[in-house]
């Protein structure tokens, strides 16, 4: 039985980060793109907490700040999504072209 080191947590966080990046780049539904952003933020959080095991509590405090930011981001993103859906009746990223001329 190998002891679980910080490196293992880093690898898990890296895998989740890559999954989130793939989701952001390839999905068409805005809701799922926002969920992928949450995945990325969670991977960062896991890194912070894993390193706080080595460096003291600062990482955990930063993880809490990141969670706060994620909450604010989700609220604003979903608000934008609702406002957009009311205008164009779609949730696809490709059809968001209001700022194009």
């Amino acid at each position: 039985m190998v002891p679980i080191t910080t490196l293992h947590y880093l690898v898990v966080a890296a895998a989740l980060f890559v999954l989130g990046v793939i989701g952001v780049l390839t999905r068409r539904n805005v809701v799922i793109v926002l969920m992928s952003v949450e995945l990325i933020l969670n991977a960062v959080n896991l890194n912070l907490v894993a390193f706080s095991r080595l460096w003291g509590l600062h990482g955990q405090v930063f993880a809490i700040f990141v969670i706060t930011d994620a909450a604010a981001e989700a609220a604003v993103g979903l608000g934008i999504l609702i406002a957009f859906f009311r205008n164009k009746e779609t949730v696809n990223v490709d059809e968001v072209d209001l700022l194009k001329w």
């Binding site: 890296a14 969670n42 600062h58 993880a63 700040f65 994620a70 981001e73 608000g79 609702i82 696809n92």
Partner: protein
């Protein structure tokens, strides 16, 4: 095992066609992350994770999915044309992380700080109100702005 669960449900999040299934898989991911935080002696962060993410953000997501859900969107293609860019970025990031895994072990300290599990919440609170007082206040301001912004954008007419 928790990591495996997290990665598996993470894969489910980005591959399901139905956004509700994605949201449920994301809840599973977040819960397994909370378990990982508990293993890392961070019970306060684990509690905040469960309450705020699973209780707050995911309810918001499910609510918006129900508000916005279209029958049409399930028949369409769920991936866009940029999958080449996605695969390319994934390969680059994956190579970076593999290189970190193979030769990054010298960068990581071996010694671990032992802090007590019992007073973790107390310690985090102390740090929030002493060392990180200014970021704490800025975070409160950010939340206020986010609340106002979300209300304004979800209003009937913009």
């Amino acid at each position: 095992m928790l990591s495996g669960l997290a990665i598996l449900s993470g894969v489910l999040v980005i591959t399901r066609k139905n956004p509700v299934h994605s949201a449920l898989a994301l809840i599973l991911t977040l819960l397994s992350f909370a378990g990982l935080y508990l293993m890392l002696y961070a019970p306060f962060v684990a509690g905040v994770q469960i309450i705020l993410y699973v209780g707050g953000i995911m309810v918001l997501f499910l609510f918006v999915i129900m508000l916005v859900n279209l029958e049409r969107s399930q028949k369409e293609k769920s991936f866009n044309q940029q999958w080449i860019a996605g695969v390319l970025a994934a390969i680059c990031l994956g190579a970076l992380f593999i290189s970190i895994y193979t030769r990054g072990s010298s960068l990581v300290l071996r010694s671990e700080v032992q802090f007590s599990e019992l007073t973790n919440t107390q310690d985090v609170g102390q740090m929030l109100y002493s060392n990180y007082l200014l970021p704490f206040e800025i975070a409160s301001l950010l939340l206020l702005v986010a609340i106002v912004g979300a209300v304004v954008m979800a209003k009937k007419r913009i």
